[in-house]
Each structure stands twice: as structure tokens, then as C-alpha cells.
């Protein structure tokens, strides 16, 4: 009897020691949380952020503990998930979709010691940074390729939600294409979702049926690329290299590279040098890159693309340079005037030449 009791106590002691050991270890680790709007397997936006998480884990090894929540819808759900992460002891949280903006600001107030980073937003606080990539630079350059490659002079754009990020993407695409092809038309279809492969396919098919032969997408699944491949037309990839979904279709793609940024910010937070900042990295920051150009693109078009990319990267050229008018004809930028970041980040109008009206 006594022996059994001894054994029991021994087990209890062992367990206690073990759990203490675990909690001591966990306390040492720097905890980083990621919140994604889509599934990590979307092969687009969320996939690229998740690559960033992996890079952070690899760079810091067992000094860092990473967690993530995927397919978190924008709105009240996001607030719950972010709060949970903060409660569970996360030191730094990356919220990677525009719609998380208000939830992040709310939760950040309640957890002043936790650091937050919100992608693509514009609201900051002492413990909330924002970060984004100047995707419009890539879209302008890709617009040039599309403008040269189209035979029907009709480009398609599968859009998600009418937020500044998407609106500037549409405008930049149009300007790029228009700069090399004055007859260009851009057809825009809103699918009201970041991720719905079925609906994205239907939208791509609708555009195709209306004569589109180069497709842009501002949604996160590879479904439009797949449809372009099936229909024998071209498409520009989104967020990651979508070559495997459309080996013939993909002309180029806008690849988001969050890895260096994430590693840098985690390092700063660990060392205590983290500050609330607003980072908007362009091609020259390495946060936006392009895969190898499709072989069907003629050498001179590829060269034109490269010249533009280099000029933007060197700061010699800005896609939004005047003279430009808004869609309704009101003057917007004077000759040679370059748009300010503030105006760009809150863009809520089409520029002249883009057809259709912006949903509210």
C-alpha cells in the first residue's frame, strides 16, 4: 500500500516537474502569431504569408514559437481570434488582411504590451504598425505586357472588394496597358470574395465569353489561372508564382515576398527596438518580385517590361504621374505631378478611361 502511494506521489512529482519545465521553456520563447484571411493552401495571398511564418521559424529556430489561424473572416470573428492569440501570450501578431484593421486597433488597446502588425491598412497606434507592398508598381508593369499581348484589346480584372488597394490596382493596370495600347478596354467583375474558386472561375469564364484574352485577378485562388490555361488565353498571376496552374497561360506574376520583412520585424521585437511604423515597400525593397517571363512574350516586350520595372525601382518613374483625370473628367494630377502616398492609399475613384462604376 505504502509502496503504491510512494509511486503515486513520485508520478505526481514527475509530472509537476515536467510541466514546470515546459512552462519555463515556453516563457523563454518569443511568441509570434499570424492571422490569415484564406487557407494556407490557397497558393496565393495567405500561402505567401505562411511562407513568411516558416521563414521566421527557420531563422530563429527554437527561440521563437509561431502560431497561426487560417480562413479567419474579416469582422467580428477576426476580433475574437486576435484577442485569443493575445490572451495566449503572443508577443507579436501579424494580421494579414485589410478587413482586420478595426479589430486590430480595438484589440491592441486592450493589450498594450503586445505588438501588432496589420497588412495593407492605414490605422496605426503605439503598438500597431502597418505594412504593405506597392503592388500597383507590379500591376502597371504587368499591364504593359498585357497591353502588348492582347489581340482583342480587351483585358479582364477579377476584383474582390472596392477597397483602395484593389482600386489602385485596377487603375495601375489600366494605365500600364493604355501606355502601350491606346485602344485598350478593361472589363472589371467584382466577386465580393477574396477566396471562392468556383465563383472566381465563373467570373473568369464570363470575362472570357465577353472577349477578354488577358486576365488579371485580385482574388487569391489559382482558379482564374487554371481557366485561362483551359481556354487558351493569358493571365497574370497573383501573390505567388502560379506557373503550375497555367504553364502556357501565365505571362508573369506578382510575387509577394514577406519573408525578409517578417524576419526583420521579429528580430526587432525580440531585441526591443521595435517601433510602430508604416512600411510600404516597392519593387526596390525586395517585397515584390516577378517570375521568369513566359516564353511567348516577344523579347522586345520583355525588355520594355524590364525597363519599366527598373525605372520604378530606381524611383525615376511613378505609375501615377500626371496629367491624369478622374473617370468623370475632373482634373486630378497636373502634367508631371506625382501622386502622394496619402491620396494613393485612400484611392476610391477610377481614373479616366476605366469603364463601369465603382460599387459602394
Amino acid at each position: 500500500m505504502k509502496r503504491w502511494r510512494l509511486l503515486a506521489w513520485g508520478i505526481v512529482a514527475l509530472c509537476a516537474g515536467f510541466s514546470l519545465n515546459i512552462s519555463a521553456q515556453a516563457a523563454d520563447k518569443f511568441k509570434v502569431g499570424f492571422v490569415y484571411v484564406g487557407p494556407v493552401g490557397d497558393h496565393g495571398w495567405s500561402y505567401q504569408h505562411h511562407e513568411g511564418l516558416k521563414a521566421v521559424q527557420k531563422a530563429f529556430g527554437d527561440k521563437v514559437e509561431t502560431t497561426y489561424a487560417e480562413s479567419v473572416s474579416e469582422g467580428p470573428d477576426a476580433e475574437r481570434v486576435i484577442t485569443q492569440m493575445a490572451q495566449k501570450g503572443a508577443d507579436l501578431i501579424f494580421a494579414t488582411s485589410f478587413g482586420y484593421m478595426n479589430p486590430v486597433i480595438k484589440v491592441a488597446k486592450r493589450f498594450p504590451k503586445v505588438k501588432f502588425e496589420h497588412a495593407t491598412g492605414f490605422k496605426r497606434a503605439k503598438n500597431v504598425s502597418t505594412y504593405n507592398v506597392r503592388f500597383y508598381e507590379g500591376r502597371y508593369a504587368a499591364g504593359i505586357v498585357a497591353g502588348r499581348m492582347t489581340k482583342t484589346n480587351t483585358l479582364g480584372y477579377i476584383a474582390s472588394f472596392p477597397i483602395p488597394e484593389v482600386v489602385m490596382g485596377i487603375n495601375a493596370t489600366y494605365l500600364g496597358a493604355k501606355s502601350v495600347n491606346p485602344n485598350i478596354k478593361l472589363k472589371i467583375v467584382w466577386v465580393s470574395s477574396w477566396f471562392d474558386p468556383g465563383k472566381e472561375t465563373a467570373a473568369a469564364k464570363a470575362l472570357r465569353d465577353q472577349g477578354v484574352d488577358v486576365m488579371f485577378q485580385h482574388t487569391d485562388s489559382a482558379a482564374p489561372m487554371k481557366l485561362a490555361q483551359q481556354e487558351g488565353i493569358y493571365a497574370i498571376g497573383q501573390a505567388s508564382d502560379m506557373h503550375s496552374f497555367g504553364p502556357d497561360a501565365q505571362l508573369t506574376s506578382l510575387i509577394d515576398s514577406w519573408n525578409p520583412y517578417y524576419i526583420k520585424r521579429v528580430k526587432e521585437a525580440m531585441e526591443g527596438t521595435w517601433k510602430s511604423e508604416d512600411v510600404w515597400g516597392g519593387i526596390n525593397s525586395g517585397m515584390l518580385s516577378f517570375p521568369e517571363m513566359n516564353k511567348v512574350v516577344p523579347a522586345e516586350v520583355a525588355a520594355e517590361f524590364k525597363t519599366t520595372v527598373d525605372a520604378i525601382s530606381a524611383g525615376k518613374f511613378h505609375p501615377f504621374t500626371g496629367p491624369l483625370k478622374k473617370q468623370d473628367g475632373t482634373p486630378f494630377l497636373a502634367d508631371g505631378e506625382v501622386i502622394t502616398d496619402g491620396v494613393l492609399a485612400s484611392m476610391n475613384f477610377y481614373i479616366e478611361g476605366v469603364e463601369g462604376s465603382l460599387p459602394k
Binding site: K205, A223, Q230, P359
Partner: protein, 306 residues
């Protein structure tokens, strides 16, 4: 004319996964069981269909696998709710979450893989007819199967004794039990039939519609199917028409945007749910209830000992 054809074809194709899933759920609910796990069964079917087609190279095997996988999920639901008497609503919700999670886990290796184009039928003479041929006789076999299924279910409920028994069980399981029908057995079968249908619906999504595998790709279609069952007042044909109506709204609004006509997309994506709420309100008024043919025992558990 060409555009009209492609819009029409687009509508049918977009609606077909919903037709499959909704018709399965009609049968389940007519037997008095509410399975809210349609979304979970669709996504498992989508993965099974895609994975088996990739591995074996055969579409037929892929489609069969999707039915088996959907039915297996449904079997799990049946064991829990019919034998272990768990709450149907909670179990259905759990089934959805389980399906989404399991498919994401098992499907990791399949995102990025591709399958060949699903073959379209070629009916001699009919497919070659101008216009009519393009409109009606150039779909893939599954579209015709879905329509045949709807007619089959209609016939089953209206003309067969077994169909009548299922309806009786759905309307009054105690009465059916007292005259010697095994409520449990029939419900196991209808639940698994519903699962197989949802599975095929999923396969249609991953093999024909997109065709690719990505986790979460069902994007709420299971919930729309559930809404369509109510919308269609548990009538197979009405549920199918509801699916086409829903597909029609989706495709037409995409096309209208391309033409520059803007109706708020948010409004349009709200419509099917709004219609369902209206129908639900109508049903909740006792006088209309009998006309709506809502199964009287829907969602209530059956204890044989009572």
C-alpha cells in the same frame, strides 16, 4: 447568340453542385432528419474525387470515390444521431467543421496538381444541332445525371411504396414505427444517400467546375444547398429550379458587370438567403405549413421505446 449559349451553359454548370447537394438533403429531410453537415460532405467529396482521379487517371473512379467518401461522412453522422442519439444540429455543425479540417489535412499534397478536362458528351445528331445542340446536348455526363436524379427522387416519393414509407417516417415516426417500419434503418439509408449526393456535388466542383483542389473550396455551397431545400419546400423539382435560379443570379450578375451594368454585387449575393428567410417566415405560419409540406418530424430524434 453565342454569348447567350455560354451564359446558359455557365448557369447550369454553376448550379449543378448545388442540385446534387440539395436533392440529397431533400431526401434526408423528408425522412425527418436535419443534417447540417452538407458543407463538410461536399468538401470531402471534392477531395476524394480529385485525389482518386489524380491517382488512378479515371474520372469514373474519382466520381465513385466522391460518393463513397460523402456517404462515409454521412454514415458517421447517422451512427451519432440515430444510434447514439446525439443532437442533430450540433452533430451536423460538427460534421461540417470536421470535413473542412480533415480535407485540408488529407489534401495537402494535392493542391497544385491538375486533372485533364472532364469529357463532354457527344450524342450523335443531337449534339450537332445548331444552337439547340450547343444549348442542351454538350454538357458533361454529370449534368444529365443530376437531372435524372431529380426526376428519380420525384418518382421515388410520388410513385413508390418505399418513397411513401420514407415520407411517413418523416411526418410521423411513431406511427411508422408502430406499424412495423424500422425508422432507424430507413434513416440510415436516406442519410447515406444524402452524403453520396453531396459527395458528387463536391466532385463536380473539383473535377469539372474549377478543376483544381484547394482547401475550403466549397466556400459555403453546402449552406446554400440547405437553404435551397427550404426554398424549394422539400420538393425535388423546386429545389432544382432554386439551384438554377441561384446559379442564374450569380452568372448573370458577373456578366452584367462585364458589360458595365452595375447592380450591387453585395445585394445579389444576399438574395438567395433573403428568399429563404421569407419562405421560413411563411412556413412558421401554421396554416401554410401543411401546404409547404415541411416534414413534421424534421430534426426530432426518434426513441423506439417511447
Amino acid at each position: 447568340m453565342e454569348l447567350f449559349t455560354s451564359i446558359f451553359v455557365g448557369i447550369i454548370i454553376a448550379a449543378t453542385p448545388l442540385v446534387f447537394a440539395a436533392i440529397g438533403e431533400v431526401v434526408v429531410e423528408r425522412s425527418g432528419v436535419l443534417n447540417l453537415g452538407v458543407e463538410g460532405m461536399i468538401i470531402i467529396g471534392a477531395l476524394a474525387g480529385f485525389a482518386f482521379t489524380v491517382e488512378t487517371g479515371s474520372f469514373s473512379l474519382g466520381v465513385i470515390a466522391s460518393m463513397v467518401a460523402g456517404a462515409a461522412m454521412a454514415f458517421l453522422f447517422a451512427v451519432l444521431t440515430q444510434s447514439l442519439m446525439t443532437n442533430q444540429v450540433a452533430t451536423g455543425l460538427a460534421l461540417t467543421m470536421f470535413g473542412l479540417g480533415l480535407s485540408a489535412l488529407l489534401g495537402q499534397g494535392y493542391s497544385g496538381k491538375s486533372v485533364p478536362t472532364f469529357p463532354k458528351v457527344d450524342i450523335p445528331y443531337l449534339s450537332d444541332l445548331p444552337f439547340i445542340g450547343d444549348l442542351f446536348f454538350k454538357f458533361d455526363i454529370l449534368v444529365y445525371l443530376s437531372i435524372a436524379l431529380v426526376i428519380g427522387v420525384l418518382w421515388f416519393f410520388e410513385k413508390t411504396r418505399t418513397g411513401l414509407t420514407v415520407r411517413a417516417i418523416g411526418d410521423n415516426h411513431h406511427a411508422a414505427h408502430s406499424i412495423g417500419y424500422s425508422v432507424k434503418k430507413y434513416r440510415y439509408l436516406t442519410i447515406m444517400f444524402g452524403g453520396a449526393c453531396a459527395g458528387i456535388g463536391g466532385a463536380y466542383l473539383s473535377l469539372v467546375l474549377t478543376p483544381l483542389w484547394v482547401e475550403n473550396m466549397s466556400s459555403g455551397r453546402g449552406w446554400i444547398a440547405l437553404a435551397l431545400v427550404v426554398f424549394g419546400a422539400w420538393q425535388p423539382v423546386r429545389a432544382m429550379l432554386g439551384a438554377y435560379l441561384f446559379g442564374g443570379i450569380t452568372i448573370l450578375q458577373l456578366h452584367s458587370q462585364g458589360f458595365g451594368i452595375t447592380i450591387d454585387p453585395q445585394l445579389l449575393s444576399m438574395l438567395p438567403y433573403l428568399a429563404t428567410i421569407v419562405v421560413l417566415v411563411l412556413i412558421s405560419r401554421e396554416t401554410v405549413k401543411s401546404k409547404m409540406r415541411s416534414p413534421a418530424c424534421l430534426g426530432t430524434p426518434f426513441y423506439a421505446s417511447q
